[in-house]
């Protein structure tokens, strides 16, 4: 007899659980050697930038669970959160494989895999995500606008990253393109629906666009690491995809009959430099609390 009903479930064979309990390396068997002539620290930083974007946005989308206006849209948001989380997991694992020094140190014997250590044991200023991903959720129009602006920019970056000299990044990008195509279409359709719906839905859409627009420029503002790796054929300069992304965005704005906002973008240091809004710290506090309380925990 077990003292606790749960004791008998721990240890041994984990396959009794729906999806297993093990943390196997998502890159098991994948060649993660750093391409010749590429600085491993830079490559890891670049992977953190892209991975933190999707990790943080995934968490924001997950906060929508049970709160969307319709069950179908609730499920859509959770699906997109899962895709982004999967991309984050691969990218953070790639960062750790490229440069193990970027992974926070944990107590001896901790079973936490490298990509989880990066997700749960870094402070806000160590995150490299764009601020578009982190600002708090608003209403449904807000998540529609955020996803449209983010997915549109990211799709343009990833469609070029498919040719990266780093085979892992190229593979993650090739898969990501397929997923983000569905995300952007979803957001674009809802953008038009809200804009052409009722006075109230249009008012909310315009308000959300107004609120998020100052962070739009940051999606196309290159960090020196992005520029350096773009020059070496490993990364993509987000500035170089702006025109392409603008064409698509203008298409949506035209169909929705919404003018392009004129507000200038926020300037200066960005999320890529580790400069964030205070909302990121609050979000991470909730996201990380259990992992940080039990760094040796087995789940």
């Amino acid at each position: 007899m077990n003292d606790s009903v749960y004791d008998g479930l721990l240890g041994g064979d984990s396959s009794q659980w729906a999806f297993g309990t093990d943390f196997e390396d998502p890159l098991a068997g994948v060649d993660t050697s750093v391409p010749a002539g590429i600085d491993a620290t830079q490559l890891a930083t670049y992977c953190l930038m892209l991975g933190d974007d999707t990790l943080v946005l995934s968490q924001r989308l997950a906060e929508w669970c049970s709160r969307a206006p319709e069950l179908e849209e609730d499920i859509a948001l959770a699906n997109m959160a899962l895709d982004l989380l999967g991309q984050a997991r691969l990218l953070l694992a790639r960062a750790a494989a490229a440069d193990p020094a970027c992974v926070p140190a944990l107590p001896a014997g901790s079973p936490v895999p490298a990509e989880d250590a990066l997700a749960f044991f870094r402070a806000a200023e160590q995150f490299r995500n764009v601020r578009m991903a982190e600002v708090p959720n608003g209403d449904f129009a807000h998540v529609v606008v955020r996803l449209l602006l983010f997915a549109n920019a990211r799709l343009a970056v990833l469609s070029r990253l498919r040719d990266s000299a780093d085979a892992v990044l190229a593979a993650v990008a090739a898969k990501g393109v397929k997923e983000l195509t569905y995300h952007r279409d979803w957001a674009g359709r809802w953008f038009v629906t809200c804009a052409q719906g009722t006075d109230e839905s249009r008012r909310r859409l315009l308000a959300a666009l107004d609120r998020l627009w100052p962070l739009h420029d940051e999606l196309f503002t290159p960090h020196p690491v992005e520029l350096s790796l773009a020059g070496l054929g490993v990364g993509v300069d987000p500035g170089s995809v702006r025109a392409e992304a603008d064409v698509v965005l203008d298409q949506v704005l035209a169909v929705a009959d919404v003018p392009r906002p004129g507000t200038p973008g926020v300037r200066g240091r960005t999320g890529r430099d580790g400069l964030h809004t205070e909302a990121l710290s609050r979000m991470l506090a909730e996201m990380q609390v259990v992992a940080r309380a039990h760094p040796n925990g087995r789940w």
Binding site: S14, S15, A18, F19, G20, D22, E24, P26, L27, A28, G29, V30, E72, E73, I75, A76, A78, N79, M80, L82, D83, L84, L85, G86, Q87, R89, L90, L155, A156, S159, R162, A167, V168, A170, A171, V172, A174, K175, G176, V177, K178, E179, L180, T181, Y182, R184, D185, W186, G188, R189, V192, E244, V248, Q251, V252, V255
Partner: protein, 166 residues
């Protein structure tokens, strides 16, 4: 004597997808390779979607089935390149999906340049897997798992899953 690799490959090919158990991993196209290296069986699988949570179960199931079949050492590897496409679902897999009341995917788009936006309803032709009607309507591009969209039939009125083109 039956070739050891062929025997291992046959066992691995029969492992079923945990979320769509009407499909084997071979039907789904996620089992990319099985080889035998000394006394180690190395099976390679590829995720359908980046965040597919069924990967861990597929890995466990492969290890269990191969171990039970007398292969003591099994290694499961992840292959990311080329990315999985719904085009890899076999003809028998498509038949199994229909049989189970799911609509199989149409041909996936293979693009290299910029990805075009689709603001209208998707142009795929979906038939109701229950009554065969072409009068079907999309409910949501996102369904109960990452790989499915939700449809409803305009004739028999039943909702059904459509495996998405990717």
């Amino acid at each position: 004597m039956v070739n050891v690799r062929e025997r291992a490959a046959a066992v691995a090919a029969e492992v079923r997808d945990p979320e769509m158990p009407m499909l084997t991993l071979a039907d789904l196209g996620v089992l990319r390779d099985v080889r035998v290296d000394g006394d180690v069986v190395v099976a390679s699988i590829t995720p359908t979607y980046s965040g597919c949570p069924a990967m861990a179960t597929m890995r466990d199931d492969l290890v269990h089935r191969l171990t039970d079949a007398g292969f003591p050492r099994v290694v499961v590897r992840v292959v990311l390149e080329p990315a999985w496409s719904s085009d890899w679902i076999t003809e028998s897999g498509r038949a199994a999906l229909r049989e189970a009341g799911l609509s199989p995917p149409g041909p996936a788009a293979h693009r290299t340049g910029p990805v075009p936006l689709t603001l209208g309803p998707s142009r795929r032709e979906v038939r109701c897997p229950r009554c065969g009607s072409a009068r079907t309507r999309i409910v949501s591009e996102f369904g109960s798992t990452a790989c499915k969209a939700l449809y409803r039939c305009g004739d028999c009125l039943e909702p059904f899953d459509h495996v998405k083109e990717i």
